[in-house]
Point group: C2
Chain length 139, copies 2
């Protein structure tokens, strides 16, 4: 899963810069042209959700500063919050060592989850059970 390009960056010291264009060109998209994207609330560090981006979604997110995913079910760009109003402002985008995962630090407006819970990870394994760890936020 590791390309020569990302391997070549490993020895670079903190503060080194490389061209964004080269990084984006070398991203390791899956066979559907997508990478998984973790959205993390910037201030609280809460992990909000995981979704997917293609190159176009990544570029739009960077250009507009508002997170845009690729909806696998609808097969179209999904501008987070376009129907719910629960948008994500991009604070910072990071890319991982293999160039196959993106981490977006965001400022989330409203609940991130379609169930109206603050984040999507509302099921916690507890022994032989799974417990619901949060309630929907009333709007």
């Amino acid at each position: 899963m590791e390309t020569t390009y990302f391997k070549s960056l490993e020895g670079f010291s903190q503060g080194s810069n490389v061209d964004l264009e080269a990084v984006l060109e070398n991203l390791n998209f899956n066979d559907q042209g997508l990478v998984p994207v973790i959205a993390q609330q910037y201030a609280s560090k809460e992990v909000l959700m995981l979704a997917w981006m293609n190159l176009e979604a990544i570029e739009e997110t960077l250009n507009k500063g508002r997170v845009c995913y690729w909806s696998r079910s609808r097969q179209t760009l999904w501008r987070k919050g376009e129907s719910s109003g629960n948008t994500q402002r991009l604070v910072e985008m990071r890319i991982d060592c293999d160039g196959d995962t993106v981490l977006c630090l965001v400022e989330q407006t409203g609940p991130a989850c379609h169930t109206n819970r603050p984040n999507c990870f509302y099921l916690t394994v507890s022994g032989k059970h799974v417990a619901v760890n949060s309630d929907p936020v009333s709007s």
Copy 2:
């Protein structure tokens, strides 16, 4: 991407319990039998890495309390830290609303990244460049 099973859980209140076995049976694995897994440092909330698990890896992780992924490159179970010593003790496992992503809160020993950096997201987009945001930890 949303199954009837996970849809049926959405209305449950905080504190409700469902059977772990039913949840695991209904997970939405991809066509390779895998789900993406986010590893987050429990105390600091730092996002460490993203990797993949099949059902066997999930069950082993829960049973042993030590994180075990599926290595897509080696096509085998990957007990994190088995060669490096940089293990992840499972503190809590959470599952998302669609049953297609796992979040593991872990206690990471040593650096999480194969580059010896604390986490895998060492590349930060900054304008038209990407900056290296951390150095390898000297061992």
